[in-house]
Amino acid sequence: MTTAGTILAGLLRASGFSQRELARRAGASHASLVAYAKGRQDPGLSTLQRLADAANCDLAIEVCPRLTPPEMRTLELHRLIAEKLEEDPERVLAMANENLDLMRRTDRGGHSRPYLDTWQMLVDGPRRDLANVMVSTDAAARDLRQASPFSGVLSDEERIGALLRSDGERVAAKSGRSLDEIRQKLLDTHADAPNTTRDSEPVGV
């Protein structure tokens, strides 16, 4: 979480001013800045704005939706898929088109059609727009990723890597295992499990 102290540190770094100099320019006391930095006092938004002005900085406040654990997982998987898209667009787009065809054929009743049509438009459009939707946290992108056409793009090992980024630390803390041990256990289980095939309908990422 961003605190007044981290914002203040950012302003000092960006401006190159000392605490005392920033306080002077903002018409604040040095003691107040020390108190903000140490979290003993809350500067409030208007004071932070005044400090930012004095440091020749713009204060940008962003509202970020809090993602649920499944949404975090899907986001991490799509971040990696976006990297794959950058590395090898032909392969990723061909797989997306193939998946979209399969998904459309099996979408009896056309329930997923709005998502599939939007993905098709993105797959056929500028690559930057597609990549942006893959990594966006806005509500429309989160909904869209629930019907992702990128099944099969990631290998088991890559999937596991992305999931360890979203869930790994929590599982490591609860299980007492290291991330490497968890990764190896997952890979071993995958090697032992019967595999699913690419010539079938994708469900999920």
């Binding site: 009896r108 997923s112 599982v171 256990k185 997952l186 499990a193 095939t197 999920g204």
Partner: protein
């Protein structure tokens, strides 16, 4: 996602866990109980939140989610 697809995911999750029961959470849980007359928004999603019955360390959840699921057409 329709009921058949959900059943496929449940079977696949049971296979990889080596267990015969899982919990379906989120909006897709409605598919398990009320397969007919569901709101369109439930059927639009192709993701399902499936969890093991006992999973205090969440390792089984990681295992379920680490798998890509495909259903034979």
């Amino acid at each position: 996602m329709n009921r058949t697809e959900l059943e496929h995911i449940v079977r696949a999750a049971c296979d990889i866990l080596g267990e015969d029961t899982v919990i379906v959470g989120g909006s897709q849980a409605a598919l398990a109980q009320f397969p007919d007359d569901l709101p369109r928004s439930v059927l639009m999603s192709r993701e399902a939140d499936v969890a093991a019955l006992e999973d205090p360390t969440e390792e089984k959840a990681l295992l379920i989610n680490s798998r890509a699921y495909f259903q034979k057409s």
